[in-house]
């Protein structure tokens, strides 16, 4: 599929948004994607999570290739 990105949510993020996977329109870069996600799911404002594009962790803002797989990865504390 073109111009879409596939999102996989983990842990608390999946729980908060009520979905483990979703497909959304392509966003140009990771900062724009975060903005889109926060508008779509305001509950995410209170959860910290890291972001991976095609299974690589993102630090700072990065371009998102078309058709990319994004993972929303919250930390876990339990032991």
């Amino acid at each position: 599929m073109h111009n879409t990105i596939h999102i996989k949510a983990f842990g608390m993020v999946a729980e908060r948004i009520g979905l483990a996977e979703l497909v959304i329109d392509h966003s140009g870069n990771s900062s724009e994607l975060l903005e889109v996600l926060l508008v779509k799911f305001p509950v995410l404002k209170s959860v910290k999570f890291s972001l991976a594009i095609n299974k690589k962790l993102v630090s700072g803002n990065q371009e998102i290739p078309s058709g990319a797989e994004i993972a929303l990865l919250p930390p876990f504390s339990g032991g």
């Binding site: 996989k8 983990f10 842990g11 608390m12 729980e15 209170s46 959860v47 910290k48 890291s50 991976a52 299974k55 690589k56 962790l57 993102v58 630090s59 700072g60 993972a71 990865l73 919250p74 930390p75 876990f76 504390s77 339990g78 032991g79």
Partner: protein
Amino acid sequence: MSRFERQIILPGFGIEGQQKLKNSKVLLVGAGGLGCPVLIYLAAAGVGKIGVMDGDEVSISNLNRQVLYGEKDLGKPKVEAVYSYFKGKYSDIQIEAIPEFISVGNALEIIAEYDLVIDGSDNFPTRYLVNDACVLLGKPLVFGAIYQHEGQVSVFNLGENGFNYRDLYPQMPAAKEIPNCSETGVLGVLPGIIGNLMALEVIKVLTDFGMPLKNRVLFFNSRSSQTYEVEIAANPNSGSSIPNSFQAFEQMDYELACEGIKQLTWDEAMGKMGMDIAFVDVREPGELPPLECTGLIKIPLSTLANRLSQLEDTDEVLFFCQSGIRSQKAAEQLQNEFPEKRIYSIKGGINALKKN
């Protein structure tokens, strides 16, 4: 035939691998759901010396997943139960039982004695504390954590350009954001699986066997049995958020850094008695033991939102609950409403009081 025969004949492991295990010293922080399987397999594999740090005692709710302990251990310090379990199993094993929680005061001295650290703790302040201490001392850290049906495993700070927990999670989360298993529940086999993955990583790092999860984090979901692996990249802020000296580390308050709420011990709390401070029990009615003292206010957490005004007139408020988690939430809730107030939560709650 030695008891390690079956791993010694394994191609790529051999006598050399066994010798390396025998000469290794590892420190486990937290002898809980993750720590138990880690201990069982590292002890069986023949790791030379295993230090175990945990200040907790065995309680009945531990038994579904903390598989080293049984009914006869209830109330015993966990590290004591660990010690006698393995002494009864392997005559030559070296176990150093340390009946303390790790802190900025003891971490550097203890970790310095070991080659590798294993984080089996259950809270964010400890996880960041252990990470930072390992970075400062140059020790590899095998990390595992769980949330409900999911787990994550990684190896931090290993060799050159080995990234650490702060590269993966540069922002310290507060406990209320991500509840732990005492709040969300856990099927015992999940920490069993994640703990076994951790034990495997420990053995790989100690013996240069295979490819450890260096700069990678592995997620496992027990409901779907799916795994997901992510490559970790350096975070430019990771270095500057780690204390830059032993002295700076010892001055850190990891709980405050994570929670934004100051935690007090019972001793510190008692020092504030008699002053103009509201002392609030946020446990639900019926939780034991009841605590009765003059001036004690009882506001169960479930009703706090409607009763915040009851605490309006006091500048200082001190919350406690059974284990220190709900009081933390209560403190944060009140702080959001009244940013000017000085608000505290008692670390470890009533459970910590029972121990003293």
